[in-house]
Symmetry: C2
Subunit: 723 residues, 2 copies
């Protein structure tokens, strides 16, 4: 644990620097290494002016290597308070809050203190919002702000340290833990941890039955809404941030708010969205061929080729994959990005969702296709296909001793039934460990290494050119702090979607293939435990402090989850049917499959899935969630209060209870008045005369009794009673 300790105390020689952020809200990393001096100066002046114009105070310090660090804080607390209050009012206008903020700003802020996340989010918005919406309009690396490398908040190292310590010492997160994460890192990042906290108990049950995944997805949907209500962010996705890159075609009047809004034709967008189909097909074809070829080579080498160097040659496909896959993926991701930009979304949320769906396609192919190939091509059709794998002999020709080694046996080849399990174990254990190392340890080590290299380089360069080190100007009181900020400026930006992607891919392995290796669940249980702490460490140490955005849902990932859990109902059934015996399929001849039986099994499994889904949804919809209940109660109280204010207490009670209790009773005098009126008018209309024949209930009763007495079958019943 010594190394862990050093992780959350990045460098002890910074001393006191870790204990204070000097009240800094944000730091802008201003880099001008590739800009001319004049341009850098002009842009810098514009930047500072823009910041001051929106009420932000600035301090500038030297950065590393042609960089400035611009420290930002809100100039006056009063201004911040107004901003917070404005945001809360907006929430209420959009229906995110049910209770209107108190009319008195001071009172409101006293009742609901400003959280750190709220402050940081609003300051970030002040810096980045377009000018016409009241922000400084600064978007890193785009438009006129080419020198703005990044805008980041400073880590609260004391909190981080305590937080990591706390996380490593407990297994489950409770709602206080989550609330703390929320108040520090914002709802959008926190929801990842909630997802972990809720997914863990599911993985706890070492079962591979897909019904669990289904229940999980539905349960999460409910939980999500509940959390959103608890955090007061339900419906926050309605208040969307306009993408600065959005290009509008025309303007229109918003039918709701009456404000002018920018519009882009949805049909044009749809036409562009349709490009996703060729994109998906190309990705499937390109990645699929690469995977299939490597798969073929691997099978050939491991199961056909008997020649020398076999032990090394089996790694050949891995090498091919390692070389080509990242290249192909980066090209395809580039395509995806361009496609998403082309789709020209108005809001960051929809842009992100569109990107996520494209990335999901790529992930799906790379993560699951190899196992699909083994399960549904190699095992059933192996005996037919493997003899034709001679074509891959090319890859090992230089090593072969004779021609015979390069020819697949035409008969008698037996498929390797352990291949599938081996592959699942590889993807769910080995790959996860490798991934964890790549994600946490490697960046940490490499960062330290490169920092050292840089230091040496800078020193040498300075000695050579004679310019002073950027740290030379540092005030001794701030030196340690500035060193820390310079280090944080070099960290990468935290992207919560990466972590989500990992979770979803894992969920996919579990729901699609855990039937092959029941221990998958256990392996993920361990993995998730580590992953959660790893992600926390990543946020705390490996990346810049994320902007605490709000979110009320995991958004586009929910669809991926649903898709994977549905798909699991099909693959699980197919796998169970195909490998129900010794893993060799029915009759020992794996390629002789009863298609009707297979289809029927899948058909059944899927319909049980759909049925259970319906049932679970219904059942969950009947259970009242505490969050929604709270929301309804609040809404009720607000409206009741409004009524009380405008109608007076008693009247409001009456109106609300819907009773007649407060209504006046009809008295004879009312009727007499009516009668008098009709008399005054002469004999009244036929309607009036009709209603005056019996005045008051006494007359009605008397006449009615009379009618009954006449018509009732008196004796029969009376005498019966007497008997």
């Amino acid at each position: 644990m010594a190394s862990l300790k050093s992780l959350y105390e990045p460098s002890t020689d910074l001393g006191n620097a870790l204990n204070t952020n000097f009240d800094v809200d944000y730091v802008i990393d201003y880099r001008f290494a590739t800009t001319s001096k004049t341009a850098a100066e002009t842009q810098f002046i514009k930047l500072i002016e823009a910041l001051h114009n929106v009420g932000l105070a600035t301090e500038v310090r030297n950065g590393d290597n042609c960089a400035l660090l611009i420290f930002i804080k809100v100039a006056s607390e009063r201004h911040l308070k107004a901003e917070v209050y404005r945001s809360r009012v907006q929430d209420w206008l959009y229906g995110v809050r049910t209770v209107a903020p108190k009319k008195e700003i001071q009172q409101n802020l006293k009742d609901e203190p400003i959280t750190e996340a709220e402050r940081l989010r609003l300051v970030y918005l002040l810096i980045t919002k377009p000018k016409n919406e009241g922000g400084a309009g600064i978007t890193p690396k785009s438009g006129e702000w080419t020198c703005v490398e990044s805008i980041f908040a400073l880590h609260d190292h004391q909190f981080n340290k305590a937080w990591i310590k706390q996380l490593t010492s407990k297994y489950f997160l409770n709602s206080e833990d989550l609330a703390e994460i929320k108040d520090r890192f914002g709802e959008k990042n926190c929801i990842l941890f909630c997802f972990f906290a809720i997914i863990l108990p599911i993985f706890d049950i070492p079962s591979w039955f897909w019904v669990l995944f289904l229940v999980f997805v539905e349960y999460w949907k409910k939980q999500e809404t509940d959390l959103a209500v608890q955090w007061g962010v339900r419906g926050v996705s309605k208040i969307q941030l306009t993408r600065p890159q959005f290009k509008h075609e025309s303007t229109a009047t918003d039918p709701v708010t009456g404000e002018e809004i920018k519009v882009y034709s949805p049909f044009k967008r749809l036409a562009r969205q349709l490009l996703q189909v060729p994109f998906a097909l190309t990705a499937a074809l390109v990645l699929g061929s690469l995977i299939a070829v490597c798969f073929g080579i691997e099978v050939f080498i491991s199961e056909v080729y008997p020649g020398p160097f076999k032990a090394y040659l089996v790694f050949l496909p891995t090498v091919i994959l390692t070389v080509f896959m990242p290249a192909l993926l980066s090209v395809l991701t580039g395509f995806a990005t361009r496609l998403t930009n082309l789709e020209n979304y108005e809001t960051t949320d929809s842009h992100e969702a569109a990107m996520v769906s494209k990335i999901f396609i790529l992930n799906f192919i790379t993560s699951y296709l190899p196992i699909f190939l083994t399960a549904f091509v190699y095992i059933p059709f192996g005996q037919i296909i493997v003899p034709h794998l001679d074509i891959f002999s090319l890859t090992v020709r230089p090593f072969a001793e004779n021609e015979k080694q390069l020819t697949a046996p035409k008969a008698g080849f037996q498929i390797n039934p352990n291949r599938l399990k081996g592959q699942v174990i590889y993807f769910t254990v080995t790959a996860q460990i490798v991934n964890f190392l790549l994600e946490i340890i490697v960046p940490y080590v490499s960062r330290h290494f490169f920092r050292k290299v840089k230091e040496v380089k800078t020193n040498r360069a300075m000695k050579k050119s004679g310019t002073a080190s950027p740290t030379a100007d540092d005030h001794p009181e701030e030196a340690a702090f500035l060193t820390r900020v310079r280090n944080e400026a070099e960290l990468s930006v935290y992207d919560v979607t990466t972590d989500f992607r990992e979770m979803i891919v894992q969920f996919g392995y579990l729901s699609l293939f855990s039937v092959v290796w029941p221990l998958t669940a256990v392996s993920f249980l361990v993995n998730n435990f580590i992953e959660l702490r790893g992600d926390a460490l990543k946020i705390a140490i490996e990346t810049q402090r994320p902007v605490p955005w709000r979110a009320d849902s995991i958004g586009p990932w929910l669809e991926s989850l649903g898709f994977l859990s549905w798909m699991g109902s099909l693959t699980t059934a197919a796998l169970v049917y195909l490998f129900r015996g010794d893993g060799l399929g029915p009759d020992g001849t794996p390629w002789n499959i009863n298609t009707a039986g297979l289809l029927l099994t899948m058909f059944f499994s899927e319909h049980i899935y759909l049925g259970v889904q319906l049932g679970v949804r219904k059942a969950l919809s009947k259970i009242d969630s505490p969050g929604l209940q709270k929301e309804r109660a609040e809404r009720w109280t607000v409206r009741k209060q409004y009524l009380q204010e405008s109608m007076g207490q008693e009247a409001a009670d009456n109106a609300a209870s819907g009773g007649i209790a407060g209504g006046e009773k009809i008295s004879t005098s009312t009727l007499e008045d009516a009668a008098r009126m009709s008399t005054l008018k002469g004999h009244g209309t036929p309607e009036e005369r009709f209603w005056q024949r019996q005045q008051g209930q006494a007359e009605t009763i008397a006449i009615g009794k009379n009618y009954i007495a006449k018509a009732a079958p008196k004796d029969k019943f009376e005498s019966k009673k007497e008997l």
Copy 2:
């Protein structure tokens, strides 16, 4: 059209009576033929007192045969207005209205006049609501009100006449027509007509592709919400009426309103709901066997039996069905009712929904099972089964001339491929016509017949016993009116669910089997046209005026629609696959089916269905409905107004637009103040000193420029520019 005319002018000899309702809101039909005189009198007195206690005025007149007619109206208009206002406030409290009603009752009623439906609904509630909720607590035929046969409003014959005339003269209903129906008969009944109005265009397209049904169901869901918003009843199902029959186990505090509510354990209810499973199984078994036996007999007689009376004997199964089916159905419906009562629902809505789902099961079996048997048993397996139908020879033994006629041929039997089409035509055309006659013409004729019979009987009885006719006391001015009311009292109660059931069953034929006979759609087009007018006629003439309940959805029927449309994707695929050649299946031997092919076809079809459903839902969710938009705009306006009232115009604008426009700018003086303060305090904290190193943007800019000048790679870029 002469007969139609006579239909909407029920009896011309009533003369002026059709033009006035004497301001009567409701009539209570009080029957005491089976009660003792004393009990009848006591109950009558209690009834009148209860009515007067809630502010209702009454008049009593003689009814037919030991009956009283109690006429009810609201005693004072002021009381009605208070009641209407109270209901509107309640709507607002529950979120049905977005705009709070004006604080001044008079102003509110002037802005939104009371519709007839609103008035009638509220008066009905006054009569029937439990006493603790401020009503008179009168529930017909239950509890202490055994003599209260029915509570009904009087028809507005002038409106009815004009309405029927208008309906018969146009093909499509526009939104004004629907609004008029709504204001007269309430949203719950009107939604039936909307369903007709929207379903008709669908049936217009003579296509059998199930995608249409799917689109229809999704489109209707959207349309429904829109209508609800337009009518101002969205979410009205939240304000539910407590069933007087509901038995509670304990009381609890409502977490939303804080009022005391009655609770029944949901687990107990669930346990009782599970009884639906054996109920459905029993129903399927009992009805299924009856249908299967009749089906077998029919096949045997029509296709095996060559003996005498064959032309008559083929009707034998129909006779059996006609005799036993209604009996069985009524027993099963009785069971369903008892089961639903046992489930002990709190609200009428949930009670109705539970009943509907049970009735749907019965309907599903009786309507579709015969066709399923032909399509999926008779045609594929006919050659195997028919030779074993000898068992049914028992039914024709008395008529057979020799034993040979009773033996099925062991070989060479050919199934009749036209049977399926014939059956579909029977169910979709013949049965509909028969049904229409049973529903509209027969009750009309029989009612007139029995009325005559009754008149004759009454006259004879009176002559015999010497008692006066109940009409003897009638005031001449009211005589015609009272005759009319006595007639209306004898009409049955309109049940909108019956009409919905017919529609849904029709929709089922269309979505499940229209592939067999493409003209199904056309036949339903005609049928629906007539049915819509028939239903209108039924409401206007055949039944008592319905209580204008509100509703925001067709509720439980929506699930049935979805189920049928999904099922259609399966049956259509199966039917297309089985009858893709000459209707005899592949290879001419219909029983030699490629199961895998069949399953694959169904699998594909269903997944296309599910995929299209997802797509359609997404697409429709993106199209903003005018109703929801209106709702959002209203909500926005309300909140904005509230802000304006409490904060003043300008501040509200600023707060709403989320801009900083109104925020104060940071001035040097603010900073100087801060500096002065820190000076006063000594040298301030390190944080204060950090932020005081550069005071104001001018200093920041100057220092920053200095840093840039030092660090920038000046010459390289400058010179490049110069080149």
